[in-house]
């Protein structure tokens, strides 16, 4: 019974650290990584939830797999936009984040 709780707690910790990282980071690539980890944290909570009954609840597994695939799509598009913005404007930060260090 402790395995799900251990991982769910780790999921919460990952989620919170990465959410804070997303709020404070300026480089868009790091923001993208942070959001990916927020997603992993949520998915970890969901899969830990699914591991409680025996046999495991397959519905959260399906949700998480959908979430992983959607996450890759969003990440890929974000990276493509980032590369385009960097090629056009010479910065990997959003315009409002460019002034200070």
């Amino acid at each position: 019974m402790t395995t799900p709780i251990v991982y769910a707690s780790a999921g919460v910790a990952m989620l919170c650290i990465a959410l804070f990282g997303f709020l404070t980071a300026r480089h868009v690539l790091r923001r993208i990584l942070a959001l990916n980890i927020v997603g992993s944290g949520v998915f970890m909570m969901l899969v830990a939830l699914a591991a409680r009954p025996d046999p495991p609840d397959p519905i959260p597994h399906a949700l998480v797999m959908t979430g992983i695939v959607v996450g890759v799509c969003v990440t890929a598009l974000a990276l493509a936009l980032l590369r385009r913005m960097f090629a056009d404007e010479g910065s990997a930060r959003l315009p409002e984040d460019r002034e200070f260090g």
Binding site: V38, V42, L46, V70, L77, A78, L82
Partner: protein, 484 residues
């Protein structure tokens, strides 16, 4: 055909159209797109009639039924949103058929983009299909997937403009992704608490504990970011202001409403059992702040498209002033009428701005002299949609605000009514400022030809916005047909 058949059509038609447009490529995409658009619009109106005749319907996709499977659910509220999307979406498609034509005619769409312009059609039909799927869904996680569908197609559409739209699209993407993740955390908490993702079952099982509150708060925060409620509106003006004209129209008129709809669905239909008076007041206060902030910013804009985009920030505020007075029966029809007339008027205004761009080559408010004589159709459309946005009679905006104001008085909270009136005055100021330059100054010579398709569409939309003045009663009846 039955309600169920129309629901199936509304899901499958735009998605099928999108994939056919994708495969058929540059030559036939526009044709496929316009045909699909009219078919989908017809189905949306048919669904509204079917619901008003035979009431709400629950439909188990795949035949499994909740909680294992995913259910669709249509009531008056969903039918109204689908119908708004259908009518305005058809008009936007007509406008886009001219705008994204193979010949470069528009200053804001560089000519080297024209070999990719056909990508508009699969993206736009996917967006439309995503909105229909969102309004018709009764499953929390399915709603997440539809939101991603909407978000990704919206970002692709914004990026079509290139240039400074790229960073706007990137900002929108990061915000939408963060919003989605907050929403998913909420879904996780609710699934942990109630072992279901179905809205109706949640409503029946919900009890007030901290985890449910946290779930509701997280989901609401995510949705507020997507519906650009003050102070989470910062991404909207650049994204909507820099996108191609039909895209700005679709995003401002329709996509913003999906977030609002979900907040309404969540708080009024799923969680009415929670004591949420403080949160409702907070939403109302944020709405009021949005009305003023958006109005003042719109007044300070130099470009017509940016002014119209900031006006959306303000108009979103009115919608959220529904929540503090939601207990009064007139409030919801009022807010929905406001949403419908804003959809029509805002799409019309963006198209007016697009026509001005096409003729003048720019949209600086100070130099759009003589629109009244050069482009009378656009000027009339601008004025009519302005009337609806300000809330002057007779217009859908007036009828909606009237209902909201009477709801505020019925709830004994006159100050909301005062804010609505003051906000109307503010929008009168910025719209009249632009109109003054358009009408009072003498016309200047030169420049291009007005795109008649866009002008005509904007006029049709403006007349719809005005004509919605008489829609209050049928709307209330449709909503009541859904109250099952």
């Amino acid at each position: 055909m039955t309600t169920a058949a129309w629901m199936e059509a509304l899901l499958a038609a735009p998605l099928a159209g999108a994939v056919i447009a994708l495969i058929s490529g540059r030559r036939a995409a526009a044709l496929v797109g316009v045909v699909t658009a009219f078919a989908t619009a017809a189905a949306s109106i048919a669904l509204a009639f079917a619901v008003s005749r035979s009431g709400v319907l629950r439909y188990a996709v795949g035949g499994w039924g909740r909680p294992l499977g995913i259910d669709l659910y249509v009531d008056g509220l969903a039918a109204v949103m689908v119908a708004i999307t259908g009518v305005v979406g058809a008009c936007i498609s007509v406008c886009a058929a001219g705008y994204f034509a193979p010949k470069p005619t528009h200053a804001d769409l560089p000519s080297d983009k024209h070999d990719r312009a056909w990508l508009y059609w699969p993206l736009w039909l996917m967006l439309w299909g995503g909105m229909n799927a969102l309004y018709l869904s009764a499953d929390l996680f399915n709603i997440y997937v539809t939101q991603e569908l909407i978000g990704l197609s919206g970002i692709g559409l914004i990026a079509l403009a290139g240039g400074s739209a790229i960073s706007a699209a990137l900002r929108y993407l990061l915000l939408a992704l963060a919003g989605s993740l907050l929403y998913i955390v909420g879904v996780e908490l609710l699934y942990a608490g109630y072992a279901t993702l179905d809205l109706q079952q949640l409503r029946d099982r919900i009890d007030a504990n901290p985890s449910t509150f946290a779930a509701a708060a997280l989901m609401t925060a995510g949705l507020l970011a997507k519906s650009a409620l003050f102070p989470l509106h910062f991404w909207l003006p650049p994204a909507h202001g820099h996108a191609p004209v039909p895209v700005s129209a679709a995003l401002s008129a329709l996509v913003i409403k999906t977030g609002f709809y979900l907040v309404v669905r969540l708080w009024l239909h799923v969680l009415p059992g929670l004591a949420w008076a403080h949160l409702a007041t907070l939403l109302g206060v944020l709405g009021a702040a949005a009305v003023f902030w958006g109005g003042v910013q719109a007044l300070m804009q130099e470009r017509l498209k940016m002014m119209v985009a900031y006006s959306t920030v303000a108009q979103v505020g009115y919608l959220f002033m529904l929540f503090p007075v939601a207990s009064v029966p007139e409030a919801l029809p009022g807010a929905l009428l406001l949403a419908a007339s804003h959809a029509a008027a805002k799409a019309a205004l963006f198209m007016c701005a697009g026509s001005v761009l096409a003729v003048y080559g720019h949209d600086r408010i100070r130099s759009i002299n003589g629109i009244g004589t050069r482009m009378p159709l656009t000027a009339v459309a601008f004025a009519l949609s302005g009337i609806s946005l300000i809330g002057l009679p007779p217009s859908g905006g007036f009828a909606g605000k009237w209902l909201l104001i009477s709801a505020a008085f019925a709830a004994g909270a006159w100050w909301w009514a005062a804010i609505i009136v003051l906000g109307g005055l503010l929008s009168a100021v910025y719209l009249l400022r632009a109109l003054a330059f358009a009408f009072l100054e003498p016309p200047i010579a030169g420049f291009g030809r007005a795109p008649w398709g866009m002008e005509a569409t904007s006029l049709v939309l403006a007349f719809i916005a005005v004509g919605l003045n008489f829609a209050a009663r049928p709307l209330s009846e449709l909503l009541n047909a859904g109250a099952g």
